[in-house]
């Protein structure tokens, strides 16, 4: 077993941090302390609201609901990270979610049956709808991105215009009407009892997640060994792997402790001829599909941000636009792509929103921009450009949603929640500005 301390010295090798202090031990694990701190903050927020509610709030059912509510914000926030990191902003996300959600509703209730004359049992209707929605989102993103990157209109103005224009277009799409009655398979995207994976698959996901962590740690270590770079001490790898696996399996167990509502379970029992035991039939929901979508989006976006050229260019541009340009990077195309990615993510979030509502109204996605920007900034994305992490933004989204959920659980109405969310946004940006000023002087 070789670790930093006893490996033969590599030229240019970093000195290991002191071993015997707690901070030294933590430093050796190379854990992202900021992310860790945010997770702790999230736990504290949940606990405080739980205490205020007299221990009523933290339960598997409530936490699954909260998580599903956070998915839309979290998914879009991963894209907002790239946008803010490259020194731009996107205020149009809420309107775009509304537009695409309305498009899904109209596609499935009107355009497919009445214009394309697709029969109701046409296969993969939901997938076709999602594909079209993603195309619409990418299209709007491309137009806004083009105006920002190639025409040179500031992103604040373009997307502020987008916020108004696209929201207005939602009205024209449906002539002001709310639309409901979506494809049953599409509705599963929104979660709920039916839209969850059930106990077995949830455990399966947990196990796959554990294997993925181990594989990831192993390949990262092998990669560094290939060049004889310093590696983490073996105990640190083990601790990270163990904590990661326990967290994943714990979440799986927690989600599996959430059961179908009694009415649905009884219906299911009747339909399948199962005798209902005393105390009701307990069917685990496990992870809802929207959570799985969020996990997938987070992984893909992290991979794009860290392991792909595009992500590297976004960060480099944010750090120094001039340097990116002189490095030969096509900076305009890079910026335009961030908005295309945003559009795609909005379309995914819109699918979850429409599926949850089983339709769409004129104000789906309203004030998403505020929550999404707050999520990104709370998660460590800086308006100075160049810094921000995908995982941080997802945690930030959970922080924002936990505050909203906790307030509402304790009887604060939605205007009151908006007041708090707005203040949190200003505090988070203010903290970022203060932090930057402090580190500069």
């Amino acid at each position: 077993m070789t670790n930093v301390a006893d490996a033969p010295p590599v030229q240019g090798q970093m000195q290991p941090p002191p071993r015997l202090s707690l901070s030294g031990l933590i430093a050796q694990t190379e854990v992202d302390l900021r992310l860790f701190g945010m997770l702790v903050a999230l736990a504290v927020i949940l606990l405080v609201f739980d205490i205020i509610s007299g221990g009523q709030m933290i339960s598997p059912t409530n936490m699954v609901t909260l998580s599903v509510q956070a998915t839309g914000i979290a998914i879009i926030a991963t894209g907002m990270v790239l946008v803010i990191v490259s020194r731009n902003i996107d205020l149009s996300v809420g309107s775009l979610v509304g537009f695409v959600a309305m498009s899904y509703a109209l596609l499935m209730t009107d355009w497919f049956p009445n214009i394309l004359h697709l029969p109701p049992d046409f296969p993969l209707t939901w997938a076709i709808a999602v594909g079209i929605g993603i195309g619409i989102g990418a299209g709007f993103g491309a137009v806004q991105g083009f105006i920002i990157a190639y025409v040179g209109v500031p992103s604040f103005i373009v997307t502020l215009g987008g916020l108004l224009t696209i929201r207005g277009l939602v009205w024209y799409l449906s002539q002001g009407a709310a639309v409901s009655g979506l494809d049953p398979t599409f509705q599963l995207i929104g979660g709920g009892a039916a839209g969850s994976m059930g106990a077995t698959l949830t455990w399966g996901v947990g196990v796959v997640g554990c294997l993925a962590i181990v594989w990831f740690l192993f390949t990262a270590r092998r990669q560094r060994r290939r060049f004889a770079f310093p590696v983490r001490p073996m105990w640190a790898e083990a601790v990270i792997g163990l904590v990661g696996c326990l967290a994943i399996l714990g979440l799986a167990a927690f989600a599996n402790a959430n059961y179908w509502p009694k009415g649905l379970a009884d219906q299911y029992a009747a339909a399948n001829g199962i005798a209902v035991p005393a105390g009701g039939l307990q069917i685990s929901t496990g992870f809802p599909y929207p959570i799985m979508i969020l996990i997938g989006v987070t992984l893909v976006m992290s991979w794009i941000a860290k392991r792909r050229r595009f992500g590297r260019y976004v960060y480099a541009y944010g750090g120094n636009p001039d340097a990116a340009l002189l490095g030969g990077i096509n900076t305009r195309w890079t910026i335009m792509k961030t908005y295309i990615v945003m559009g795609i993510l909005c379309a995914i979030a819109a699918a979850i929103a429409a599926a949850r509502l089983n339709g769409s109204t004129l104000d789906v996605g309203q004030s998403y921009e505020l929550y999404v920007i707050a999520a990104a900034v709370v998660g460590g994305t800086s308006f100075a450009g160049g810094t921000g992490s995908i995982a941080g933004a997802v945690v930030g989204a959970f922080v924002m949603q936990s505050i909203a959920y906790g307030l509402s659980f304790n009887g604060v109405n939605s205007p009151g929640q908006n007041v708090v969310a707005g203040i949190v946004l200003i505090l988070a940006v203010g903290f970022d500005a203060w932090n930057r000023r402090r580190s500069r002087s």
Binding site: Q11, F227, R309, R312, Y315, G386
Partner: protein, 259 residues
Amino acid sequence: MDGTPLVELQHINVAFGGVHAVQNVTVDLRPGEVVGLVGGNGAGKTTLIRCLSGAHPADSGQILIDGKPVSIANPRDAKALGIETIYQTLALAENIDASANVFLGRELTSRFGDLDDAAMESATRQVMGRLNPNFKNFKTAVVSLSGGQRQAIAIGRAVHFNARILIMDEPTAALGPAETAQVRDLIKQLKSEGIGIFLISHDIHDVFDLADRISVMLHGRLVGTVNKADVTTDEVLAMIIMGKMPQEVTQHDLAELHG
């Protein structure tokens, strides 16, 4: 001197609004040659070489590489022609680490197009070992490095890609004596490998030590180009300050220089 020059910049003009930063300047560079480009602040040195590095196209004029006219519209074109540049501003993205900067725009990737950070770090360790063996901060963002370390990264980036033509705009401005000596050795070595180098420096002794020829600019115009062997530092100073060629300089002028 015979053979086709490696680079010819002919009748280059660049204006920013009403400011004629470069006016009708013609210079050239041969393989294995160091041409010192000197002049006071704002003389137009940086603006001139930015035309060659693709950072800012000239308003008019012609660039020839190996005697053939080329068009350099952006930094990618320049790099494709084997032109590497160390910018006076260093042009580093401060939020990413040394190897990400060295390979910025030319990242090494795996078969599937994923960034191969380990390979890039390895190559960066090699080139930095040549420039600044004490450099160890391969995982830290450039923002927390010293000015000299940053400069070493900027130099490393230019050297790593086997340039044929190297532009160095104040490459040692932030370096300590040991590192400066290392860069001098590097320049001599690169020169012996047949690379042509434009060296911009305010240090007249540096220029005299390293350059074969010296081109002097004043107020956007070329005062002239001289062989180092044919002139004294005083004569070059007179070119820089008064814009007078050695044969035009009087005893009185020289006295004034030292006055």
